[in-house]
Amino acid sequence: MAGRMITLRLNGQERRVEVEDNETLLYVLRYKLKEMSVKSACWKGECGLCTVLMDGKPVKSCMVLAVEADGSDIVTATGLVKDGELSPIQKAFVEHGALQCGFCTPAFVVAAHHFLQKNPNPTREQVKEFLSGLICRCTGYAQIIDAIMDAAKYYRGEQKASP
């Protein structure tokens, strides 16, 4: 199988990488681009832990072929850190105890970031519905929902990002 070169922006940096046609974006991110902030607990679209933002939209990177990501902009949890400062959604996760083992956290953080950008005035029901594509086994979700409801104020522009 002949490889082909693709180019993508990963957390703001342009990266070129040779991929096979049958390789997933998850595989390429982890094993070729060494982007270990992208986790996986099932490799087949069930757990949501490999969620990244592709051109601003959350995708399960195990369900995307790497060739489909050619030319796209990919953001992971690591990419939300600006100048060494956590983003408001990341800070809210820390303060609300919205993580335990932390293995699912990068996925929840990027998904929540996308969700609040689209909907900075959510109801708890909307947050719960949106998060239901992702599995967290430790927290029982309640503190994750609290963190997202709280971080919404930053996305509404009511508070500056770095208080």
């Binding site: 607990a41 832990l49 990068p106 086994r137 979700y141």
Partner: protein, 814 residues
Amino acid sequence: MSKQAFKVLGKPVPPPDSYEKVTGTAPYTFDMELPGMLYAKLVTSTEPHARIKSIDYSKALQVPGVRIVATGKDFPVRIGIYVGDRDMLAIEKALWVGHPVAAVVAESIKAAEKAIDLVEVEYDPLPAVFDVEEALKPDAPLLHPDIANYKISPAFKPVPGTNIANQFRMIKGEGEAGFDKADLVIEKTFKMPFLHHAYMETWNTIAHYKVTGDIEIWTSSQSPYAPRYLMAMSLGVPVGKIKMRIPYVGGGFGGKAGVLIEPLVAMLSKKAGYKPVKLVMSRAEQMRSMPVIAGYKAYAKIGFSKDGKIVAYKVRFLFDTGAFADYTVNVARTAGYACTGVYDMPNVYCESLAIYTNKVPTTAIRGFGYPENHWVLERLMDMAARELRMDPVKIRSINLLRPGDPTSTTGYGSPLRADAGDIQGVLKTSAELIEWDKEPEQPKEPWKIRAKGIAMSLKGPSQPPNAVDAAIVKFNEDASVDILVATGNYGQGTVNALRMIVAEAFDLPLDKVHITWMNSTEWMPYTWQTVGSRSTFTVGQALLRAVEDAKRQIFDIASTVLKVPADQLELADGKVYVKGEPWMSIPLTEIVNGYTFPNGQVLGGPIIGRGIHSPGILSYLDPDTGQALPINPETGHSEPGHATVFYTFGSTAVEVELDLLTGDIKVLKATQVYDIGRLINPLTAKGQAIGGLIMGMSRALYEELIFDDSGGVANPNFSFYYVARAKDIPDDIRIKFLETPQADGPFGARGFSENVMIAVIPAIANAIERATGVSITELPMTHERVWRAIKEQRPDLIEKALKAFQEWKNASQG
């Protein structure tokens, strides 16, 4: 209880590693790679029980990049924490569909994946057994005919020549004869299914067997010492040669306790020419081939007097351990010795068997026998309340254990200490939180019913009597402290709680107390294991002794320098003071590496404090009577022995909504109360309580491993093994902690992070039975199972609901 003033304890402190976790920069074994690392994949059995005639891997070796293929012949050893029955790759016989029979090691995952399909295994099928009661029959196929030759811990008693991996019996009072005094007897059969822990990071290990004979391991395990010891014993390697390193771990829930795949990967590394090898389980491999959670069938009988007092209890647990009982023998034993739950019972007869079948093996689990035995007992309590027309809170209240009363004992004959916790207060608070006396507001859809249910729980760590712990505190030049403990940190918040305990004890600000993410046998002192909700209690005590030890050394130096006796000194704000004369002080920075006089002479050296915890009050339980063996009087303790170092009392109450047309149960409200002795960190304590609540709810309503006709796991994925998602959780969750300090706990604290998932399971079923009279005794309470139970027991409810639904539909259309 007067509130002590604390500087650090009781504050909501996020664990410091949260920052790495939210940015995705925390390294898990899953993320780690070593130079020259190779990848392993497993070939698994397609037969439930078979002699392996031959394994031909010549084609696999021809796949480019493949280095070696190993089979059970390469390492024919057995391993296990309590019963050494596990092989690393099938030895002669395959025992279930999914049993690893060979391993391929290659330069890439892709090459290894390609090669496993080319390994040809020829089987000679044997009769298989998939059901515990079938497995007990005299002519049942035997999974482990050589069990008498396995390494077995002294607390366990397999029955050679049968499929019984352990037999535990407990008799208290007159045992079964106690039923003669009963006015009411209830007999029921209960079931729990096999389950998957569903930690998000699957088992994965990197091992590097070196030419020097040293073995370096990086692994996703709960704790380093017990697996290292077990590995050394089974492989015949000196234990000190093994360096067990544990980075961040993506969840455990008991499923990463004991020894995992470390010995296998180490031997693969050796066979592959002393190269580092990594083995990562896929989710399907994890659920089909690696240990899961045992299911059981239980026959229970309980007798009450007219006035609601329990007079006798009999229960027989038949735990299905699958093909290896390794850790499950102790889950089964624990379900047995703690079968009496929070209640005082004069007469008890309990038998708990761990039984082999040709199914996926099983291991430890959060709760460790307690969710199992509470599902039986807490359901029976509600059934009795119904029969006796008593309130479920009242019938519990009059039967609760009485801490401090020597006549009120556990099933194994030990009274609870007076400061074990406010058991009545837990029940009372639980009832208050759920507003027990207020009828739930009924939904506007008349085919749905809302109801409240309640259950109690107790949980103690099920550890061997000789499980000991050590802790070290050492100082940095800036008088900040490093904590060295081998306690695992896989999300429970324990290590952060230990940091808070040390900061409080040293009177240092939290940012002056450091913990590290990498746990290792090379620099962390011995801790048996991080399991059983034990570490805050046991390692916390070891740390407080280490702090005292360090303080003694500090005061020794300061006493010479300040020319006052050591007992007149105190440590606060990073300084050593003379009591009552705060102007007489030395900064700690000038002592931690010895005090240097103006003439350059030094007094003392680096301050390093050490402390231990030794549970001297524990003893084995007699496997035939379940009674604790007497304690050696020369140790200063008095008889009888105990099975645990503490018990924590808890209660969960729920308000649920049942859809009579679909059998769908939704938990609308849940309240939890635990007497944890001392609330160290409200943020993470709340996190444990909620996390456990939802895990318990998930177990109650959704989770079940399903087996196909050949005993293989048919749903090894998250599509068909459903775990609770965000949309399933109740919006109204109320948590309350009571604080009755236990004198030997660190600042009075007891552990509780398993207790949080126990009572919710029976509480949900109790609510359903209270509202409908429909009795559910088998888990999970899926739509279908619940609907069938209503149809069978109360068909009138479904008819009424259907009529109401039709009327509502007609009305809304009209």
